[in-house]
Structures are given as structure tokens and as C-alpha cells.
């Protein structure tokens, strides 16, 4: 029988066993109670306990067996494993039946189990982080066994070249050795991030200042959803827009001033990415500017400063840690952004300071390395994991610094409860 049908059969059998346990448990408990004895729990709770005691061990045995199969390659045929689980279920049912007695705290037992399940669910997020770390680090280590780490960090030529031939054992004499210097890739990422920040930070910060200081309530109720719409547009749509509309626009504007721009220039994805990030900066800045105590504003106005001077010299410096934290989060988001650059930026590693040239970024190379037709163990494919590792470390650092800054900002203004 196929695995899918087996699993369906197993689930069906377990369900039936669980139902039998439930009704039998409830019947027995009701009988004991009807005879006049006081019990520590309700009949329904004894019933749930019986059902849990039947299903729980069976699922646990099945899961352990599945993990043994995967991790240690133990050769347990699936039908035997499922049959063993069902036997355990039957055993559990009999144990549960003996526990249906007046002095057994069924409700406490159930709630202990539920608490354990909830804690297990909370552990899944930890497993996810570990999963990401393990998957990226293990493959990156395989890459760094093939290539030098120092060359990867400081090399200025990214040319995977014939690395897949070398992995297949058919490297020719005289072919150029593959070079994996990642500096051009990070330069491309930084250039596009810089353009994005030059667009996002002024517009986002000024929008936040307007919405929190000057805007009437009606404008706020319209502007906030509008910015949320900006944040909700999928990045692949932004990428299409950047490639089809913005890039030709940049080329023609550059042509008008006499400069030559490539159709895969870095300005188009940078500008569109900046627009995508405006809502992040504006909503976070809005929150911190509103969190600055009103007493500071009123004190400054009472001294005779105009509104603009109050904002520039009192409010914004007070909110500065929060604004910087928002900017760091935005930078981390821009560096990890994939779809806009895959669709609008170029494929050629290019170490240059001219945003009108085509250049490629870290995320584009990760996608290209993993969706090409190289064998999985070749250096080019594994380079994707090495790049992913550096990207992970950089974004994690930015996020942690940002969180620390916002926490210090909150601490500073928590005591001012005027």
C-alpha cells in the first residue's frame, strides 16, 4: 500500500480508538458518579483524559519512529511502525480505563498535557531559527572548505566560471579558476540600499512629521491607510514596475542630461525600493515622535520658539534614537530585498560608484546560483549559502542594534509621565 493511504488508514484507526476511549471513559465515570461517590473531576474530563492517553503515546511513537527513519536511516518498514503505534494506543486506552477512579485528578492531568503541548508549539519558533542557522552554516562550511574565506570576504572579482565543471571532475587545463570575491556583490547591495535610503528617509521622516505635528485628523485617517497600501503591494509587482516603467524613465532622463544609463541601472530598483520602504520609516517615526512627551513641546513653545524650531531642535533630537532605529530596520529590509533587484537590476558583478551602470547584488546571485542548472555540490551553488550566511549576520546585527536603541529610547521617556 502507498504511504499516503497507510497514513490515512492509521489516522482513521487512531480516531476510532480515540472515540471509543472517550465514550467508554465517560460512561465509566458517569457510572461511578451515579453510584454516589464524589469524584475529583467531571465525567467529560475523564473522557478527554482517556482519549488523550490513547492518542498521545501513539502519535509520539509514530513521530519518534519517523525521526529515527530520517535521521539514522533505521530501516523500519512503515506498516510495522504504524501497527506498533496502534498497539501502544490500545495499551494507553487500557491504562486510561484503570485511571477512571474517584481519587484521580483528571483535569489536572489534562491541563498539564495541554501546557506541555503549548510549550512545544513555542519551541517550534526556536527550532525554526536553529533550522535556518544549521542549514545555512552547514552548506556554507562546505563552501569554505572549497574556497578561501579571506578571498571571499576581500576579493574583488566574482567569476564562478567553470566551477561546475570542476565539481563534475571535468575541469580543463587552461580554464580560468573560479573566483569568488564577494566585494562587488556587496558594493552593488550597498549602492542600491543607499539610493533607497536617500529616497525613503527624507520622504518618510517628513511624512511622519507632517502626520504627527501638522495634519488635521481627517488627513491622518486617509494618509495612514494610504501608506499601508504602499507597504502591502507585493515586491514582485514593484519589481515589474521598476523594470518596465522606471528603468526606461531613468534612461531617458539621463539621456536628456547627456549621460548614458544602462537599462539595468541601479537607480530604478533603488528608487522603487525606497518607495516600498517609506511606510516602514514613516510609521515607526510617527510612533516615536508621538511618544515624545508633550511637556517638552509646550515648554519650547512657551519660550517663544516657532513650531518649526520646536520640531527641529526639540522633538526630532528627542526622537532621534527611535528614528535611527527605524532607519536601521529599513536598511536591513532593503539589503535583504530580493524580487525588486532580481527583476530590475543587472546580472553582472560590477564594482563601481556610478549608479547609472548595471550591477548585481547579493540576493540576485543567491537566486541565480540556486535556480540555475548546476549540480548541488558545485562551488557556485554553495556560494549562495555563503552569501546567505553573511547576509544573515549583517541583517541580524542591524536588527539587534535597532532593538537596543528603541529599548533605550523607551526607558528614557518612561519616567516622564506628565
Amino acid at each position: 500500500m502507498q504511504t499516503n493511504q497507510l497514513i490515512l488508514l492509521f489516522s482513521g484507526a487512531l480516531l476510532v480508538l480515540g472515540l471509543i476511549a472517550f465514550f467508554m471513559g465517560r460512561a465509566k465515570a458517569a457510572k461511578v458518579r451515579a453510584s454516589g461517590t464524589a469524584m475529583y473531576a467531571q465525567p467529560d474530563q475523564y473522557a478527554w483524559f482517556a482519549a488523550l492517553a490513547t492518542a498521545g503515546p501513539a502519535v509520539a511513537v509514530g513521530a519518534i519512529g519517523a525521526f529515527a527513519l530520517l535521521l539514522m536511516g533505521a530501516n523500519i518498514p512503515t506498516p510495522y511502525l504504524l501497527a506498533a503505534s496502534l498497539v501502544v494506543a490500545a495499551g494507553g486506552m487500557m491504562v486510561a480505563m484503570t485511571q477512571v477512579r474517584p481519587d484521580f485528578h483528571a483535569r489536572k492531568a489534562i491541563e498539564r498535557t495541554i501546557r506541555f503541548i503549548l510549550a512545544g508549539a513555542a519551541m517550534i519558533s526556536i527550532f525554526t531559527t536553529f533550522g535556518i542557522l544549521i542549514s545555512i552554516i552547514s552548506e556554507a562550511i562546505r563552501f569554505f572548505q572549497m574556497q578561501s574565506f579571506w578571498d571571499f570576504i576581500t576579493g574583488t572579482t566574482w567569476n564562478p566560471g567553470a566551477s561546475f565543471l570542476a565539481a563534475a571532475g571535468r575541469a580543463e587545463e587552461g580554464a580560468t579558476a573560479a573566483q569568488f570575491g564577494s566585494v562587488p556583490l556587496f558594493a552593488g547591495t550597498f549602492m542600491i540600499t543607499l539610493v533607497a535610503m536617500l529616497v525613503a528617509i527624507p520622504v518618510g521622516l517628513m511624512s511622519a512629521i507632517y502626520m504627527s505635528e501638522f495634519a488635521p485628523t481627517k488627513v491622518r485617517t486617509v494618509a495612514k491607510p494610504m501608506l499601508e497600501v504602499l507597504a502591502g503591494i507585493p515586491t514582485v509587482v514593484y519589481g515589474f514596475f521598476a523594470a518596465i516603467t522606471v528603468a526606461p524613465l531613468v534612461v531617458s532622463v539621463a539621456g536628456m542630461v547627456g549621460l548614458e544609463a544602462s537599462y539595468s541601472n541601479a537607480l530604478a530598483p533603488g528608487i522603487v525600493m525606497g518607495i516600498m520602504i517609506i511606510p516602514f520609516i514613516s510609521s515607526l517615526s510617527d510612533d516615536v515622535i508621538n511618544a515624545v512627551p508633550d511637556s517638552m513641546r509646550q515648554g519650547s513653545l512657551a519660550l517663544g520658539m516657532t513650531r518649526a524650531e520646536t520640531i527641529k531642535d526639540v522633538v526630532v533630537p528627542a526622537a532621534l534614537p527611535g528614528i535611527i532605529s527605524a532607519s536601521l530596520l529599513a536598511i536591513s529590509r532593503a539589503m535583504g530585498e530580493t524580487m525588486i533587484v532580481v527583476m530590475a537590476a543587472g546580472m553582472r558583478p560590477n564594482l563601481t560608484a556610478n549608479p547609472l551602470e548595471d550591477m548585481t547584488t547579493v540576493t540576485v546571485r543567491i537566486v541565480a546560483a540556486l535556480t540555475g542548472d548546476q549540480e548541488f555540490a558545485s562551488a557556485e551553488t554553495l556560494s549562495a549559502f555563503a552569501l546567505g550566511l553573511v547576509l544573515f549576520v549583517v541583517t541580524l546585527t542591524l536588527n539587534m542594534v535597532s532593538v537596543i536603541m528603541i529599548r533605550r529610547f523607551r526607558e528614557k521617556y518612561r519616567s516622564n509621565n506628565l
Partner: protein, 388 residues
């Protein structure tokens, strides 16, 4: 006084002018964002609305003997390059299913070739001058028209732009999101309930919370790497399937649902919990019967917003392989599938210019669904939110 009264007045006027300038500049910044939004939607509509129309031509279709083997023989020679090859390929099958067709000749509206469609919409095409004149003649006679493009909504991907549709991608999105919700919603709500109601306030709990906040900020492509290395290579989940895509997206949506559920749980006032404890409920009974039902609208709203975010994700799904060419609309969890954003990505990379409008049309459909989802979430929140 060192400064005269007039000097001070002038200085004050300058400062007030600067203040007004700041107000207008900040208003301008907000207006700029709004202007971009208008520009963007207008551009998408202009590029995408033509995709909902497809050219058809009315030609004489001759179901003769030769047409059973060589479908090209069913139409006259001058209109042969104008009819869609996809339509012609179906003729032998139709003649087999319906033997009465043999020997008849009918005037039918048939799907035109992609180049004819682009020509009628005013774009530059590869049609030769003679073919263009034939099309012009047909259009003048009313036999070449742009009709509503039902293929776009009923067919899957195709190499011929006139037949390309998003049905297979839409089905793939539905399946993937089903897996995502089935995995992320229970685990997310259970985690949030544990962290909010049951967890003791120690270092371990703080570590879990820091972990969840970090997960929310990890670039999406790294989840793709996780899906590739662990789900596909280690657990052996079939590549390109909605199962692996759904699992990857579930891990991405988990922090969003957890944070939204925690906010909803926190907004339930403590008085409700204390009252429930006061009548003798155990902690789980308090949560199950008193806190959770009250906070359910907030949890649902957060989940819908998380679902909308997951729907637009492309990068991790590309890494786990969901960019296959899927012409048929299949509905299993383990066969290769694609999702709407990935379909848009694939079409955007096609060299044929006719696919540009298909891409924009797909974008319009995706944006409509997302706006509908978000509007549902907002309406739900307004209708069921309780102010304590």
C-alpha cells in the same frame, strides 16, 4: 536694547516663514508618496486592462478530411497565420469527439494569434505587410474584434500569449495558502497563548520572545534557503509542491500571527481573567472559555493580514522551485505547482512583448485579491472589535 524693534519684527517674520515652509515641505513629502501611489496604479491599469481583452477573428472553418491530420487545412490560406495555433491543434480532437462535424463548413469566431491581438491593440508586431492588410480588412468588415478574455481566467500557463492564463497559478496559490494556514495558525496561536498566559517570566521565555522578533525581520530569501536545505534535501518533501511552499511560507507567517495574537490577548482586560478565576476556573479554562473567544476577532484580523503578506511572497518560493511551467490546473499537494506572484515573475521574464500585458493583468488580479483580503480584515476589525 541692541536690536531695534523693527529688526526683531523682521527676524520674527523670517522664523515664522521658515515654520510655514517646513509645514508645506512635510505636506509635500506626504503628497509625493500619494502621487507615487496614483502614478503606480494608473500605470498598472493602463498596462494591464488590455490583458482582459483578446482578439478573435471570424473565419470560415472547413471540417474536411484533411483537417483531421493537418489542422492547418481547416482554414483558408490567407487567414492561416492569423488564427491561433492553439485553437488549430484542438480541431482533430473535436472532430473525433463529434463525427457530425466532418464535411461541414461554418463561420466561427476563433481565437486569433497573439501577434494579431497585439496589432489590434496598437503595438508593434512581427506581422508582414500583407498579413496586416488582411487583418485591416477583417476589422473593417467587423470580423476581427477584441472580446473578453475568458482564457485568462480558465487556462493555465502557455507559451502562446493568447492562451496564457492564471488559473493554474491561482489554484497553486489556494493550495499553498491552505497548507500555510493549516500549519501557521494553530502553532502561532498556541505559541502566543503560551507566551501570554502560561509562561513564567524567566530568561527562557525572554529568549523565545527575542527569537520571534528576530524571525520577523529575517530576509525572506533565507527562509527559502531553509526550505531548500531542510524540507527538500533532509525531509524529502517533493520539490515545487504546494506542500513545501506552504511549509516555508508558514514559517514566515508564524511571527506575524504570534505578534498579532499576543496583541489581541493583551488587549483583553485582566478583570475578565480575574472574574473567571474568582468563580473557580483553572488557568486553561480561563483561557479557553473567557479570553480566547473575546480576542478571536483580533486574532482573525491578524491572521488575514499575515495571509495577505504570504500571498505576495515570491523569493522563498522561487528557491524551493515553485516557478515551474504549469499548463494544467492540477489540485494535489505533492505535484509541482506555481503561485500567482511566481507566475507574474515568470511572465515578466518572457521576451515576447505580448506577455507584458499578461503580467500587468496578473498583477491587477493579485492586487484586487489582496485589497479585498485587507479590506475584509479592516471591516472585521471595525465590526467585532470591543472597546474596553
Amino acid at each position: 536694547m541692541r536690536q531695534s524693534f523693527d529688526d526683531i519684527s523682521a527676524q520674527l517674520k523670517g522664523r515664522h516663514r521658515k515654520s510655514a515652509r517646513l509645514k508645506w515641505m512635510s505636506m509635500g513629502a506626504l503628497g509625493l508618496a500619494g502621487l507615487f501611489l496614483v502614478f503606480f496604479f494608473t500605470d498598472m491599469l493602463i498596462k494591464g486592462l488590455p490583458a482582459f481583452q483578446q482578439a478573435q477573428v471570424q473565419v470560415q472553418v472547413d471540417y474536411n478530411e484533411m483537417a483531421q491530420d493537418i489542422p492547418l487545412a481547416a482554414v483558408e490560406e490567407d487567414v492561416r497565420p492569423l488564427v491561433s495555433r492553439g485553437y488549430l491543434r484542438l480541431i482533430p480532437g473535436r472532430m473525433e469527439d463529434n463525427p457530425d462535424l466532418l464535411g461541414t463548413t461554418r463561420m466561427e469566431w476563433v481565437l486569433a494569434d497573439g501577434q494579431v491581438d497585439q496589432y489590434l491593440k496598437g503595438h508593434h508586431t512581427n506581422l508582414s505587410a500583407s498579413e496586416e492588410s488582411v487583418v485591416d480588412e477583417l476589422a473593417a468588415e467587423g470580423r476581427a474584434e477584441l472580446k473578453f478574455n475568458t482564457n485568462f481566467f480558465t487556462r493555465g500557463d502557455s507559451k502562446m500569449p493568447e492562451l496564457a492564463g492564471i488559473a493554474s497559478a491561482a489554484m497553486g496559490t489556494v493550495m499553498t495558502l491552505l497548507v500555510t494556514i493549516a500549519v501557521a495558525f494553530p502553532i502561532g496561536v498556541m505559541t502566543a497563548v503560551y507566551l501570554e498566559e502560561f509562561a513564567p517570566d524567566n530568561r527562557f521565555t525572554q529568549m523565545i520572545e527575542i527569537n520571534i522578533n528576530n524571525l520577523a525581520a529575517i530576509p525572506s530569501i533565507l527562509f527559502g534557503l531553509l526550505g531548500l536545505a531542510i524540507f527538500i534535501n533532509f525531509f524529502g518533501v517533493p520539490r515545487s509542491s504546494p506542500l513545501v511552499g506552504g511549509l516555508t511560507l508558514a514559517l514566515m507567517t508564524l511571527p506575524v500571527i504570534i505578534i498579532a495574537t499576543r496583541t489581541a490577548l493583551r488587549s483583553v482586560p485582566d478583570t475578565i481573567r480575574h472574574a473567571a478565576f474568582g468563580v473557580g476556573c483553572s488557568r486553561w479554562q480561563v483561557v479557553r472559555d473567557h479570553v480566547l473567544p473575546v480576542s478571536m476577532p483580533g486574532i482573525m484580523t491578524g491572521s488575514i493580514i499575515g495571509l495577505a503578506q504570504a500571498m505576495g511572497e515570491t523569493a522563498p518560493l522561487i528557491i524551493v522551485g515553485m516557478v515551474a511551467f504549469i499548463p494544467d490546473v492540477t489540485a494535489t499537494f505533492t505535484d509541482a505547482a506555481t503561485v500567482m506572484p511566481a507566475q507574474i515573475f515568470t511572465w515578466a521574464g518572457e521576451p515576447d512583448r505580448a506577455f507584458t500585458e499578461k503580467t500587468a493583468g496578473g498583477i491587477l488580479v493579485l492586487l484586487t485579491i489582496l485589497i479585498a483580503l485587507n479590506a475584509t480584515a479592516v471591516v472585521l476589525r471595525k465590526k467585532f472589535e470591543r472597546r474596553w
